[in-house]
């Protein structure tokens, strides 16, 4: 999976080039993110291109967070309304930080 990464304010941001984060790509997504995030304790994932996430995608996000180690923080930026609603439904909005994409943040 193609992902781009850049650092802003000391935090690595990963932007995957996918529109759906589901079981068909979840493992690839998880491995790509974990590889890029090695040694990081804070990570942001730009979710703005992702219009659909299912439970396998949520599991991949949780796995990425766990791969960062204890006390690590994973920030999901630019999540669409539907993705935010799913995070609330599954109470993962309490696990991940939610934020705006870096370019839109003040």
């Amino acid at each position: 999976m193609e992902v781009t990464a850049f650092r802003q304010d000391g935090m690595l941001t990963i932007k995957p080039s996918i529109g759906r984060l589901d079981a068909s790509v979840a493992q690839d997504f998880e491995e790509s993110c974990a590889r890029r995030a090695q040694g990081e304790s804070r990570l942001a994932i730009d979710m703005s291109s992702i219009v659909f996430v299912d439970s396998a995608g949520l599991g991949a996000l949780v796995s990425v967070l766990r791969s960062l180690g204890e006390g690590a923080r994973l920030r999901l930026v630019g999540a669409t309304r539907n993705v935010r609603t799913l995070l609330q439904l599954t109470r993962l909005d309490k696990v991940f930080e939610l934020g705006e994409p870096p370019q839109a943040a003040s």
Partner: protein, 136 residues
Amino acid sequence: MPQHRLRLVLAPTSEDVSRAGAALRAMLDACCGTGSHCHDIELGVAEALANVVRHGSRRTFIALRCTCGPAGVRVLAADDGNPADMTKLPAALPADPLAGSGRGLWIIARTVDAFRYRRFRSLNVHCLERRAACAR
């Protein structure tokens, strides 16, 4: 308002389930506009199909039949695998918020109004319904 229909036969793979989800969403958007219930039913169906792929055994296809109209959305998914064990949806999420799995059936329970399973002529048949008035 005309009723929209979609019929698909999928290989029991996560790739085909993903493509079916996108096709279902396109049909729902054409029928209803982009209401939140379109996302809900897409998500519920995707979870049901993913569950069939993940836990079903000895199945060679999944047949999907979807109708969308004024009464809502109805999706039938039939597969030829061994009898399924998905007759009850959970009442709670996994206790561990960092669990890597266990959210799929909960999501189905929260996104559709009715979910039924039956064994019919050597097929597992799952029926999902969402009673929502279309925006159009």
